[in-house]
Symmetry: C2
């Protein structure tokens, strides 16, 4: 072993001291090789999704703000360098150079909240080759996570068709970082609130919550639990399915009768069983008791398909709590997302690997719109002037953000506005037919052919 | 909005100041209700998986060390309390009490690395009700993540049947916390090394790496890239699929001829195309050139099924790099894992919710073994003395760990040893038939029936 563990347990692992070690070993060995070979010319790396996941018709770009923050903070601390110095393959002069290294490149990106599609760069990094190389892993990690989560949230929110959606996912999120960044991504995707206190605090997102089964269980009687909880929180949501759901609803009705005008319970929550049927029966009981103002909130293994089914069947449900399916984007927990060298020292670069070929050179994406409808996208060379609205904007110049981070609400509105202009089938839950049209410009096609011939040549 | 965000971007979110805010709002509102009602008696909460995921025949318990660390650090800082004070529903006397609260309970748990099955408690928390309630979300978050990841790693490592498995997953892990904790879980599950520098450092796990396509692409010729990289790293692994895999292999062979005795390349890496066929063809070319010592390493979308197929077909592959499938446990990214109140003030508690019923009271799991074979498990009441080896051990007493954290190697050996004693079908990749037998003891069954009657009664 090279060293004893520096930190363990619940620790602030990602600090200014350690952030640059969030890297795969090969990026460091390649960086040392580039340094030794004096390969410091400008590289262009393009971050894109090779194929849309089967269960997604669009993706929502998310994670850029955190990536820019990372790029500004990127540096190898004395502590990190001392640790790297224990590896025989890193030379002292390289480590000395690494200690002085900062990210001084330019970044072009889709604004957060923008819908995008397979093959389209959502980020281009233009920087000296070793700098651009060393940030690969974190660029992917930060953008992949939030893009997956915002995209999943967007589907769930659309399925809920205007009803409230609350994130209940912290317990099943993959660790605390995903739990906290998730709150941000879900909000951009359209979720209304989160049960996650720290996530809500960090991102300024509304927090919400109901009650747990343990509260009901800890009391000798369900009625006693309801009575005590509403005494403290009059306008709360009562969880009615601990023992028998409809019996639980009747107990809420008895409580209303006992409290009279002091009864201010806002909602009941159903968390198990046949939610559609139970919601109808509960609604019937509540209405019959004159409790039309008491809403019905549902949770328990919900995803966009189940929510669409409940909404479509007219189930009288006013809001949904979504945990696991949202927290890990369960059906599609990862993107086929890559960060690829497309140009070095002014020359386009490509790969011809089976199924993994890339489009060379710096690029731009043009979104073609006809009044309030989006018709299709075209991927072109960066210097082309094609019809349509260019989607990639410079967001960092020489290692510094061009503008301060925008409020979350701006990215959230952008997602909602841009989605509303996409073709109907793309917004549906089933695989879109036809898919959203993305073309490669003539010039980019011929440039790719030309370079392929050159590489494949003798 | 209640407050402006405290922190954002790449930040040490989880610090001693914020750790207790990693909680869902309902745990805090319930805690205030318990405090108001003076419900401070001992609660027993049981953490278990309701159903095994369809793609898992066993799970590997993991995450306990981090949970114990969290429980020891659990406290609401002045900063956290000030933030909570902005919510009108938390009263100043409650927040004052919350500021003094520490976790002072006992914890019983399966040692890390233990295989376990549906319904079996892998953790029992016995503490004053509000304390036990407030740690719910983090107990689930910490155990869920590492258990999923160690379990997935274990399947992949078994499929590789002795060949090296390296974690390449940081870029697709759900955030940095999952990336770093993942390294630990993968190692316990049997993975040999990681490409993740910080993860390797934190957990003392060997780091490894090869080269990326960008290195080859940045050079004018693949041969030049191979030449330069081996000049710096003579015993490296060369990535041969950037343009044409077999042509890449021939370039390695030319390099060997040019370098003579100085050629010390350890392996080539295949990352695309038909890995089985390419490995055979590459092996043939290398052997023909007298390079039998050069190993073949494969990567690219691998999971346990694809690895088993390659191994089963006799493909001459010496090691596997696994990224996405491992990093997010792609086929099963979440467990149906819950933390349920089973006893309060000495009385068993249950839930009767459809599909979500629980077994009441503190419990023990007995593993029945016949020499070196594991026959089955029995879940019993904690005070029963049943035949078999009890799996739950007290690991924390009055809020303090009973022993220092064990080395990772101990949990890794435990997993490997205990797995080797499980029935063959349970260790295979397809759904086990029969499943591993888990019984509920007679006494626990009759106790459950008795309590259910009482709860359902008038």
């Amino acid at each position: 072993m090279l060293s004893s563990p520096a930190v363990s347990g619940i620790q602030p692992w990602v600090t200014d001291d350690t952030v640059a070690l969030l890297v795969d070993q090969y990026e460091l060995t390649m960086a040392q090789a580039f340094w030794r070979e004096r390969m410091f010319d400008e590289a262009v790396f393009s971050l894109f999704v090779r194929r849309l996941p089967a269960g997604r018709n669009y993706l929502i770009a998310c994670g850029l703000a955190d990536l820019l923050d990372y790029l500004e903070r990127f540096r190898f601390s004395a502590d990190a360098l001392a640790w790297l110095g224990q590896f025989p393959h890193f030379s002292p002069p390289f480590l000395e150079w690494l200690g002085r290294l900062r990210f001084t490149g330019d970044v072009y990106a889709l604004p957060e909240g923008s819908p995008f599609f397979a093959g389209e760069p959502l980020l281009e990094v233009r920087a000296s080759l070793p700098e651009a190389q060393l940030v690969e892993t974190m660029a992917l990690n930060l953008i992949n996570l939030q893009t997956i989560l915002a995209s999943k949230a967007s589907r769930i929110v659309r399925a809920a068709a205007g009803r409230t959606v609350v994130d209940f996912g912290l317990r099943r999120a993959h660790g605390t970082d995903a739990g906290i960044r998730g709150v941000r991504a879900f909000y951009i995707g359209g979720v209304h609130a989160t049960s996650n206190m720290l996530g809500g605090r960090v991102h300024g997102v509304p927090v919400a919550g109901t009650m747990g089964h343990s509260y009901v269980q800890a009391h000798s009687h369900e009625s006693e639990a309801f009575h005590q909880f509403t005494a403290l929180y009059p306008d709360t949501t009562l969880l009615v399915d601990t023992y028998d759901t409809l019996e639980g609803v009747r107990r809420v009705i008895h409580l209303a009768a006992a409290l009279g005008v002091d009864f201010r319970v806002r909602a009941i929550r159903l968390d198990s069983g046949d939610l559609g049927t139970l919601a109808r029966e509960a609604r019937g009981l509540l209405d019959q008791a004159g409790l039309r103002q008491v809403e019905i909130f549902a949770s328990g293994g919900l995803d966009e398909h189940r929510i669409a089914e409940l909404v479509g069947s007219g189930a009288p449900i006013d809001g949904f709590g979504v945990g696991t399916e949202l927290a890990v984007s369960r059906d599609e927990p990862a993107l086929d997302i890559v960060y690829k060298l497309t140009s070095y020292a002014g020359e386009g670069r490509l790969k011809l690997s089976t199924g993994k070929a890339i489009l060379p050179g710096p690029k731009q994406v043009y979104r073609v719109e006809d009044r309030d409808r989006t018709i299709g996208d075209v991927i072109g060379r960066a210097e082309e002037a094609l019809p349509g609205r260019p989607l990639l904007h410079r967001v960092m110049r020489r290692g510094r953000r061009i503008a301060p981070p925008e409020p979350l609400a701006a990215a959230r509105s952008r997602a909602s506005d841009e989605l509303s202009r996409l073709p109907g089938p793309v917004l549906g839950l089933p695989p879109a037919d036809p898919q959203f049209p993305v073309r490669v410009s003539e010039r980019l096609q011929s440039y790719t052919r030309e370079l392929s011939r050159r590489v494949a040549g003798p």
